[in-house]
Amino acid sequence: MEVGRLPISASQRGKLIRAGYTTLSSLSSLSPSDLARGAQTAWDMLHEEQLLRRITTSCADLDNILGGGINCKEVTEIGGVPGIGKTQLGIQLAVNVQIPVDLGGLGGKAVYIDTEGSFMVERALQIAEASVLDMVEYNDLLRKEHRKCQVNLKPNDLLESIYYFRICSYTEQMAVISYLDKFISAHKDVKIVIVDSVTFHFRQDFEDLALRTRLLSGMALKLMNLAKTYNLAVVIFNQVTTKYMEGSFQLALALGDSWSHSCTNRVILYWNGDDRYAFIDKSPSLRSASAPFSVTGKGIRNSASNHKRIKLM
């Protein structure tokens, strides 16, 4: 019997065929460990995870519910209504990934894929300047204890490490995500890929919904591969739509139910009274929790109602 006729998913079928197993008889003599070449034990994975640093969001409460910050090797989806601060968070993360290793950051670069045109360079400069000031302040605190080295970063240097792609159609979006594999192997210091937003070009008048689902799942797979292969964080932004559930209209993230399975973590940004809150909607390792945050002239910071100091890990 042909492998092509087996009731398994297309990607699994593809993998089997690629590995050369085209008939059932060729599979029958294998054991699971042979097939699962490249698997790791859970213990090894735990060790790896503990060594990984996380990318801070500059808001202590938000970092707390995220378990320290945005994690590498995972795809995090962040969604919210217009104006809640998704692009702000994106720019903040693109700057924070560059925090030097000595100060507790990753010292990496960022790829920012802009599909809506909401990346404003002036705002990125503002956030970069505030970040440099924070780093200098933190460094002064550290220096008394440990003699850390100088912070030589300038705001322009921070801007220079953000690679910006401007995408104008869904084809370009598919193309850039496929091209990123080659790009990142040439720029190995990229540690975060931000897609703002993944929904825009897939929402408007897609006649063939089946095509849309296929393209989106292909894209999700590629992003996940990127995260795992190059050990970086992938953050994608999603928009919001209204759904009729439980007898009334409610807000939900766009792109449908099948997309909601594609990401590792899902965070929803929403208004609660006068404050902005973030809610962990779905995560394999983080518990559901909400945390307030605010958007200030310096970027994302703690909510003004909690007077906590800004922690840079």
């Binding site: 217009p82 690679y163 910006y164 594999d181 408007q204």
Partner: protein, 418 residues
């Protein structure tokens, strides 16, 4: 980028032929299929398909820039660092220079609040020479509801920039740079967008104003009988892609409607509040729905509260949520306070108006189907927005009314307020 031809991509000859044989000619068609589907369709091995796709993706992908290079390019090459200064000091500072290029800026507010006035002022500003803070270019004004008044625009020009406009022939030249299109149907509107694309390629146009987008979309609803509250339509996408492609500001006006019970405002995980979320005063929201709200980059809400008009930065990636009180004067719009008041929370998105909009009916239907008679109810609306008695009345309200009536203005000196 999506329409790049595969035969020009430098693929190995055999692969290029196979693609052509299966009728896949552009990057868009190739990237719409997964690797596995392509493998089955083209009947080639996985390795060849992967390398072909990698090549196609690399070519179809737009070039990247570092954010620093982006900033330098915008500051050096574009007028005023990539912004159109509005002449309102507080607003320009909040927007880091003015209306940004390359993205959609939306003006939303109830009828009569001053959206068209603002648009006319912006059109004038874009046509001015660079030395006076303008973009020295042509303006395309798509006037769907026939609200544009050239008489009023000249008046704004004369009052705001008397030294230019009193020069011989300047008024004619400035006004001559503003092209007003009045499409009467959807097909004409699409035609006008195409005209714009042509003009843009000749690099003369520096601003596009669409007044109002709501009328366009509700005109579509009316003509095609679509009952969907939030129509998915491609025409406004064309507007967006115009902006990206050509780096000019695009200003769009939007109207308001009352919020119906059917609209979601909470997520499933939020605790449902027992009190009525609709609120005490007339709860207005911007028309065109949440999809549209995601598509615009800057949203300026104009509203009237307690007799004072405000312009609020409801959505802007680079500004804090500020509200500036403003008035409509002979010179267009002027801010009463350049510092503005920072609003907390979701208050910045709310739209207030003195008149109670009809429950459930989108206000757009009123404008498309039955234009309000330009007599009693219109004057009434003007009067509700006038400051209370005892303060100076702005004579400009009279001029506005007359401009809309398009009756000849009686010979009266424009410089004496009542």
């Amino acid at each position: 980028m999506a329409d790049k031809l595969i035969k020009e991509m430098g693929l190995p000859k055999s692969m290029a032929n196979v693609f052509a044989a299966r009728n896949i000619t552009t990057a868009q068609e190739a990237l719409a299929l997964t690797d596995f589907e392509l493998m089955l369709l083209l009947d080639v091995g996985m390795a060849e398909v992967s390398s072909a796709l990698a090549r196609i993706s690399e070519i179809a992908c737009p070039p990247y820039q570092t954010a620093l290079a982006l900033m330098e390019q915008r500051i050096q090459k574009e007028g005023h660092g990539g912004h159109l200064p509005t002449g309102l000091k507080g607003l320009d500072e909040a927007l880091c220079g003015g209306i940004p290029f390359g993205v959609l800026t939306e003006l939303v507010g109830p009828a009569g609040i001053g959206k068209t006035q603002f648009c006319m002022k912006l059109s004038l500003l874009a046509s001015l020479p660079t030395a006076y803070g303008g973009l020295n270019g042509r303006v395309i004004y798509i006037d769907v509801e026939s609200k544009f008044s050239s008489r009023r625009m000249i008046e704004i020009g004369v009052q705001s920039f008397p030294d230019i406009f009193n020069m011989k022939g300047m008024a004619q030249e400035m006004a001559g740079r503003i092209l007003v299109l009045r499409p009467t149907s959807l097909s004409k509107f699409t035609e006008s967008l195409q005209q714009i694309q042509v003009a843009l390629r000749q690099q003369q146009v520096k601003l596009v104003v669409i007044d109002s987008m709501t009328a366009v979309i509700s005109g579509i609803i009316f003509c095609l009988g679509i009952t969907d509250k939030e129509p998915q339509d491609n025409t406004y996408l064309v507007g967006i892609s115009l902006a990206e492609f050509s780096r000019i500001p695009i200003v769009v006006t939007n109207q308001v409607r009352s919020q119906t019970r059917d609209e979601g405002c909470q997520y499933s995980f939020q605790v449902r509040s027992t009190e009525d979320p609709v609120g005490y005063d007339s709860h207005l929201v911007a028309a065109l729905g949440i999809n549209w709200a995601h598509s615009v980059t800057i949203r300026l809400v104009l509203e009237a509260k307690s007799g004072q008009r405000f312009i609020k930065l409801a959505k802007s990636p680079m500004s804090p949520p500020l509200a500036f009180p403003f008035n409509i004067t002979a010179a267009g719009i002027s801010l009463l306070d350049d510092y503005g008041r920072e609003l907390k929370g979701a208050e910045i998105n709310k739209i207030h108006s003195h008149e109670k909009a009809k429950e459930g009916l989108p206000a757009t239907f009123l404008t498309v189907r039955q234009k309000p008679p330009p007599t009693s109810s219109y004057v009434q609306r003007r009067q509700t927005l006038r400051p209370h008695s005892g303060e100076t009345r702005h004579y400009s309200d009279d001029i506005l009314w007359r401009a809309h009536d398009l009756r000849p203005v009686p010979p009266r000196s424009c410089l004496h307020p009542d």
